[in-house]
Symmetry: C2
Subunit: 448 residues, 2 copies
Amino acid sequence: MTNTLYLPELREMLAENNAAELREFCEALHPARTAEFMEGLSAPEMWAVLRHADPQLRVQIFNFLDYEKQIEILQDADRAEIAQLVSDLPPDDRVDLLEEVNPEVVAELMPLLPVEERRDIQRLSSFPEDSAGAIMTTEFARLSENLSVRQALDEIGRQAEDLETIYYLYVVDTEDHLRGLVSARQLVSKIGKPDTKIGDIMERDLVTVNVLDDQEQVADKVAHYDLLAIPVVDDEWRLVGIITHDDVIDVMREEAEEDAYHRGAVHPLEKSYLETRLVTLTWKRGIWLAVLFFAALLTAVTLEHHEAVIAGIPWLVLFLPLIVSTGGNSGNQSATLIITALSAGDVRVNDWARIVRREFLMGLMLGGSLAAVGYLCALSVAPGYYDATVIPITILLVVVCGTLTGSLLPLLFRRMGLDPAMMSNPFVAGLIDLLGIIIYMNVSLLML
Amino acid sequence: MTNTLYLPELREMLAENNAAELREFCEALHPARTAEFMEGLSAPEMWAVLRHADPQLRVQIFNFLDYEKQIEILQDADRAEIAQLVSDLPPDDRVDLLEEVNPEVVAELMPLLPVEERRDIQRLSSFPEDSAGAIMTTEFARLSENLSVRQALDEIGRQAEDLETIYYLYVVDTEDHLRGLVSARQLVSKIGKPDTKIGDIMERDLVTVNVLDDQEQVADKVAHYDLLAIPVVDDEWRLVGIITHDDVIDVMREEAEEDAYHRGAVHPLEKSYLETRLVTLTWKRGIWLAVLFFAALLTAVTLEHHEAVIAGIPWLVLFLPLIVSTGGNSGNQSATLIITALSAGDVRVNDWARIVRREFLMGLMLGGSLAAVGYLCALSVAPGYYDATVIPITILLVVVCGTLTGSLLPLLFRRMGLDPAMMSNPFVAGLIDLLGIIIYMNVSLLML
């Protein structure tokens, strides 16, 4: 995946210490692409290249480097130079990064930072992980409502280089209470009337998030309202930061991956698959696999309890895996439907009665069709028409039980304040396996 | 979920035909929130309210209404008024919406639209679903590189109301070939030097997508480069549209949902869970459930083939569901890991040898631990130490087989140009169930 096209040239420039060419390399392309071309270099080589870019561009390219390389650079390069880089980094990225850096290095770096930035880092790192406060940035445009359009444009022109976004400008009073919002679009469209007051054009009905809101809620709001950035306020409605669209996209990716892991019964990884150590990976799977294994042991206990039934009617065994997997599949489907609908906001816990009715009816239709097929198959091995009916009856009951369990468990988890995606599917599968066997054995016991 | 707070007031205003108050209602809040307050109204009532907003605001509120209601309004309201609304809608949303509207209505509406918009609709609807062309908008700011910063700002000020974004301005030559990009940020930061030429400040190394690229690729690029919008070019590098960050967020949600459905073996829904008809829903699940059922029937066939083994050693049955589900769980985990890593770009098909090695080792570690527990359990029911070893040996083989199948199938699907998420998990589960039983029966046959 590494782009090695320019590596020899880059190494040659470094060997010759060719400042002009290295500078040109840094400036020629989009920072993300410059970072790609540097991928094959070691961390010290990367830093040797970056030192030739001016500070603002240096930070941009740095931000696109591989995360591990960023940490290496912060830990190994000259402290004073790194302090400069750290103080230029976007406040939200900076905090995440410093958490991964060796604490001793951080302790050495902190005194080299301007006092204001040091406080900013301390404040941002105090917010709980996955909260709005932990992903927000503190560099945004603040305006007073008394400014004119002309003054506002001049003001932003001055600050533009330091701000994460200039596309939404937040209007605050002297105590930082959020009063309104002006978009750069509004400002630019009023360029013909430069004396208009900000207070007269700003929007006052704002969509905000609280600094302690969960990042998933933040993403939902930004997506729903099609925002470029969302202001973060504290309990007193003071503006403490903003979260920009690119961070929201990152949150969405992260949450989607986390959900996928949960549904697959893997504890979410922190690094990529190939970068995660085998022992870690085994552990992250092993805990879940073990939980599911012990749950599955209950099926063995249940079967042992009904050993007489099986010994008496040996052909029942043939359908055992079929019945268990059909129940699991239908439960899994229901869980998927409800988890997806819950996270899209299409259903709520209060809709449970309607959901139960729908899932029950679907269970009847699906179970009924499969039962018909199952009956035909059973006829070929069972001793008679009556005996064979055990199979369709069991299939029908297991599928209905699967759809009901699969749909109700995620609702129950949500009701209890847990993430429905977190345990539902593996949990559902294990539970339905067990229920399937209990149903199968009892139907057989009653009928045969 | 409907906000009914203002419904009585709104209906009263409508009954009195109170234009001033209705107009104020439309203007007071964020358009998304205005739309929320209208949720309980019928489509004709909604339109009666919207008619009091000025056209630009009307379109914004309309865009936040429920999709079904939007379609109803388009179909039922006065054609001439609707033509005005349609011509104000963002070009990308408009095309999606018109595809859902009764074709006869569309045929009546089209002649009422300006010829340019009509062509735009025809062109956009010609692109394949899920391609960049199908989600792009054609309303964006075009500049010539000879303009000065001052001229560019004036120009954008004039166009701002009609454009979907003014934050990236695209520089094209006389034949619409994409030459560069200027961000509003750059423009505003040069406000002190208004005579600077656009050609001197524009970026020339641009990240673009082709009009036929898949929407998932588009989302990946926008996320990777942290863009607000990405230009869409044709094969001759002519700028034909742009895709904005909010559409990318929608694409990501859509793709994440689709993946979730695929992994849960449900054919993706077009509407929300509660809005989808039961018959449709049953069908979308039923096809997959049936496929998996027939696959599971193979387990019954396999067991019948080995009926003698089971009849001879009845305690083997107790471990049947345990072994099948443990294999399925470990395979499911591997498939989840590899599918997630593939879609995040962390692994490629070429990494297969490394993946196989890792999964094999993990299979040994996980299978080994579970085998040890399984042996202890088997001792309690098996007639002797030797007989009981069938269980740990089977568990070890099944888990290794599960990790290998689970990791290789998604790679195979990707290699064949199919979406790995599309069939892998249900497919994996079915296959491993079958393999598990074959392994179990053969180990028993060989050893006992």
